[in-house]
Amino acid sequence: MTAVLESSGLGKRYRQRWALRDCTLSVPSGHVVGLVGPNGAGKTTLLSLAVGLLQPTTGSVEIAGDRPASSSAQLAKVGFVAQDTPTYSGLSVADHLRLGRHMNPGWDAKLAERRISQLGLDPAQKAGKLSGGQRAQLALTLAIAKRPAVLILDEPIASLDPLARREFLQILMEVTAEQELSVVMSSHLVSDLERVCDYMIVLVASRVQVADEVDELLNTHRQVTGPRTDLSALPADWQVISASHTDRQSTMLVRTPVPVTDPAWTADPIGLEDLVLSYMSKAVRPSPDSSPALEAQR
């Protein structure tokens, strides 16, 4: 399987501040990828690099097999819905479809018109008069009707109300099922992504913490509880993501390739949201092996 998004050593610096560092990813195609992380983690930077709106400071990135925005053929392969779903407020819905038709050789006019009528949008309405949810739907329609191989969505539902959110995700799922599309979408809420994504990238403090298929993540992570133990005394193939201790008991999230068989420990499966949150808190808290605080001082 070819990689839909591949990066190595990718980094972006704004003056003194790194928005993204040392990002090495290889996301196979055919997935709905969730890019999750707190606000300011570098999600928008990563996606902007992936669609060619930004130029990397270090490393390289390829999307759908080529450098982002390197040619019009390459641009045609990538659909992008930017954060806050920008549209031309003075142009009508129908004008946006015309824009799409004139600027994309692979434009699927039938698909676009069907979507607009399904959404109940008035083609004569100016985009500036649409609600946030309608605008997001219009931007999504533009991005999918160009028939891309990859669809990139940057916080598409962050500003939508719960009903519009659900509707947006539902339509997104229909489209990906119909079109064999790879999707990468970002959000700061795991709950938004949980229902639709089968691949997860956790990005915190400008670094990728973990990136893998959701099933794989759920299979290899265990919430382990047992007698209070020093971290150094744990099995060598246990990767401790988070740990908390009481006087007598230790509770840890560990990643391990083999099932936990030691009767001293009780191992429970963990939900995706808790798993992601553990990675997030690990990244912002200094841990024994790597200390972001110290690193920042260097």
Binding site: L99, H102, M103
Partner: protein, 346 residues
Amino acid sequence: MMWLTWRQFRAQGIVAAALAVALGVVLLITGLNLAHLNSDSGGATCHGARACATAANAFINQLPGTGSVPVFFGTIAVIYLAPALMGIFWGAPLVARELETGTFRLAWNQSVSRARWLVVKLGVVGLAAMATAGLLSLFLGWWESPIFRAAALAGSDSAAVTRISPQLFGAQGIAPIGYAAFAFALGVTAGALIRRTIPAMAVTLAAFGLVQAAWPLWIRSHLITPLREYFAITPANVNELAIINNTQMIVRHDVEKPGAWVVSDQTVSPSGHLFSGPPTHACLSANASPNACNASIAALHLRALISYEPASRFWPLQWTETGIFVVLAMALAAFCAWRIGKRRLA
């Protein structure tokens, strides 16, 4: 890409076209009137220098009553203002508004490369700006042609009105096309650098205004080295005689050079130095006769040195100036392309 460019430019283009047509109608009506007046005065059919000068003078003397003077200067003002307005309203928002509203992220992710997006936008709107300025100038050229023809025929009195004079030159011929290209490119560049529409508009206005003011004052006369010519100053042709603080003396003869743009007019001594005194004794002493003063001035053998651009240099100057502004505009456009291509904007 053409479609989007046209769709975004449509409203502004229609407004500009409507204004241009309105001005065109005024010029057409008054211009036909002028042509009539000219043939009624015999300007079109006269034979011989004297008859033609009489006809031309008759025509010129009638001009103030026709209302053509405000139309003439009004149109010139419009032609001077048009490039600035197009730079402000067409150039500055071109990139700035996309950056300000975030729509560049929509536009640059269609299947059209960013370079093509910019080239089409600059090409279509820039050519529209140049065409607008060129048409206005062309129309004024037709309208004013009987006046300049009459001014040339009527003799030195009316020859002060010349198309090469700094007041008129920039609204004549092809120069407005160069200004329009430059002002538009300046607006686009300001927008790409400042990223906000309103400040970019203000900067465009200030920068272009500065260039438009500085150009005839300091730069145009260096495009083609002016001709120099000496004229003897005699007591009979002195236009101005003044003594300052008993140490300096001003003797001036204002040279008239029909049809030419006199760039500078200085009084020089026989050795070629600028003359500013000292005053002659005959002119200083309280009881000296005017004749003695005049004789003493004649004895100085002062000359007036003028440097000027003759009327025949109108077109060479027009081509040079327009060429420079078009090249400047292209350099600015190339800079914008480089900046946008480098993705320095997102």
